[in-house]
């Protein structure tokens, strides 16, 4: 049931993109996201989409898998498209009942759709090719300078990695509990909103209990290994930039320049 949600889950395979330093990928994703919001220009979106396609090809993730990952956000996407289409004033193309569809509205909706799709796929690209541990590791290093203003960077990164680690576990657990309650005749689908919300109690109570139990066990296990925060902590595999990362940064600079040029002159 819940297993089908692939949004942001690491996809295990070997590729050049998987091997890149997580910092490179974080910065790359950030640059990609910025590039999507700089111009409202069809050519920029086409260029950004081809860049993403290139990344997908390099990453060896099946394109169908990427598309399946969009499933959970399709509702949001369609909703935004409709709102944009219906409520943008301008030159009317056709009228349906009391609703005016305008030329600007359609244009706006298309741009918005392209932007959102690329945005989600782009950030998915990062999480699909980077394990959560490496991702938070990269984040911790990137945020390193913030330690100077007394920000508990290590603790934030640790919390994030624990949260990420627990998502699939709790998802499996929810699946199991739902099935077990279904076997006892629970019904999660029929009835109105209030009845549906009530029917979730038999799932949420055991889920919370199990989450607390797991958190307790984890805290105990960490203490047993003498974990006491980030100070003086070393890593088994410290992050290190390699030639491939340099190349990636170069590609990113080229990409950004191209986006700016296309946006300005086309």
């Amino acid at each position: 049931m819940l297993r089908d949600i692939t949004l942001g889950q690491y996809y295990e395979t070997k590729s050049k993109l998987h091997e890149l330093d997580p910092r490179t990928k974080l910065v790359g994703t950030l640059i990609y996201l910025i590039s999507l919001f700089m111009f409202t220009n069809a050519y920029v979106y086409i260029f950004a989409a081809s860049f993403l396609l290139l990344c997908v090809l390099i990453s060896r993730i099946p394109p169908t898998y990427m598309i399946k990952g969009m499933k959970p956000v399709i509702f949001l996407l369609v909703f935004t498209l409709f709102l944009n289409m219906l409520f943008t004033p301008g030159e009317v193309i056709f009228t349906f009942w009391k609703i005016n569809i305008t030329k600007e509205g359609v244009k706006q909706a298309l741009y918005m759709g392209a932007r959102l799709t690329l945005l989600i796929m782009g950030s998915n690209m990062m999480t699909l090719t980077t394990t959560p541990t490496r991702l938070t590791n990269g984040l911790e290093r990137l945020m390193g300078p913030l330690k100077l203003i007394k920000l508990p960077v290590h603790e934030i990164a640790m919390m994030m990695s624990i949260a990420l680690r627990f998502i699939p576990i709790l998802m499996d657990e929810t699946d199991r509990i739902m099935k077990a309650q279904l076997a006892r005749g629970a019904d999660f689908e029929s009835g109105n909103l209030i009845k549906k919300a009530k029917s979730l109690v038999p799932v949420l109570v055991p889920l919370f209990i199990s989450a607390f139990r797991r958190a307790n066990d984890l805290a105990m296990a960490m203490e047993a290994r003498c974990y006491h925060g980030g100070k003086g902590r070393t890593q088994m595999k410290p992050l290190k930039y390699r030639p491939a990362d340099l190349l990636a940064y170069l590609v990113l600079i080229l990409y950004m320049t191209a986006v700016v040029l296309i946006g300005k002159y086309l």
Binding site: R3, T6, Y11, E12, T13, P62, T64, Y65, K68, R176, I177, K179, A180, Q181, L182, A183, R184, G185, A186, D187, V201, P202, V205, P206, I209, S210
Partner: protein, 288 residues
């Protein structure tokens, strides 16, 4: 094994199932599996971790839908349009592994009432059937209004089994009911299951790792390995393949090994012995 076909309750008909169909770790959990349950019989389902037994079990009451093949219950295809799958879940009661993880109500009694109420029994009927179910699993009276979370592991397990029994299933399926219990809790639970089998006339399917438990209780043993059913026969005949079972990471009951050793040492004993009682008789027969 020859069986009376008119007593056939549940049949899985050449079912296959694959996990994570488009993902990176796609694998076939069931591959062309056929499996039958007859009225009043006790089936032991054994297999190594990941052999597909839990997946098979979840197919039997329509929690998972097979990619190929179908399930028949009382002569009806459960995936036919309009088939009442909720009613099927009442008739085929499923107790998951670590069922204590699904407890949520404030008292044991309410917990056991959850099932009957869901299946449309009225207040009084639910309470009566919950009461009977709690009695059947042998929980003491003072437990009725305790919180299920305050009970011991073995007692929680009983509450969970009672909550399935309360809906009056025709087939009871249990996934490793004794997993994680101490020897005493294990022993008591096995005795309770045995008494259920004798007093209720229920068909029982028990998934287990423990050969001793299965050998003691089951009329028939089904062995799974890598998504296939390898053996489906009387315990004695299945355990005769103990060498193959070992290759699958399973083992025969310990008594079989004892008898085998005795035979190798020159005693003229039968080796198709599965339980301690049988072994005792056989050894006494030789000695006297």
């Amino acid at each position: 094994m020859e069986r009376d076909k008119s007593k056939l309750k549940l049949a899985a008909d050449h079912i296959s199932y694959e996990y994570d169909k488009s993902g990176a770790n796609r694998h076939k959990a069931l591959d062309d599996v056929s499996f039958e349950v007859y009225e009043g019989e006790f089936v032991g389902l054994i297999g190594h971790t990941g052999s597909g037994k839990s997946t098979l079990m979840q197919h039997l009451n329509a929690l998972l839908k097979p990619d190929q093949g179908t399930i028949w219950y009382d002569g009806q295809d459960i995936y036919e349009k309009g088939y009442d799958r909720k009613e099927l879940r009442r008739r085929v009661g499923l107790v998951f592994q670590y069922p204590e993880h699904q407890l949520f109500e404030d008292t044991v009694f309410n917990e056991v009432c959850f099932g009957p109420k869901n299946f449309g029994m009225d207040e009084k009927q639910s309470e009566l059937s919950a009461y009977a179910a709690i009695k059947k699993v042998g929980l003491p009276d003072e437990c009725f209004y305790h919180s299920p979370f305050d009970l011991s592991g073995g007692q929680k397990r009983r509450v969970a089994i009672a909550s399935v029994l309360a809906v009056k299933p025709e087939i009871l399926i249990m996934d490793e009911p004794t997993a994680g219990l101490d020897p005493k809790g294990r022993e008591e639970l096995m005795e309770m299951i045995l008494s259920l089998k004798e007093s209720e006339g229920l068909s029982i399917v028990m998934v287990s790792h423990s050969m001793e438990d299965v050998a003691k209780l089951a009329d028939r043993i089904v062995v799974m390995d890598k998504g296939h059913i390898v053996y489906d026969d009387e315990p004695r005949k299945v355990f005769a393949h103990y060498k193959e079972l070992e290759e699958m990471g399973l083992a025969a009951p310990q008594m079989m090994y004892v008898m085998q050793d005795l035979k190798d040492a020159g005693f003229d004993v039968r080796t198709d012995v599965t339980t301690i009682e049988e072994a005792k008789e056989e050894i006494l027969r030789i000695v006297t």
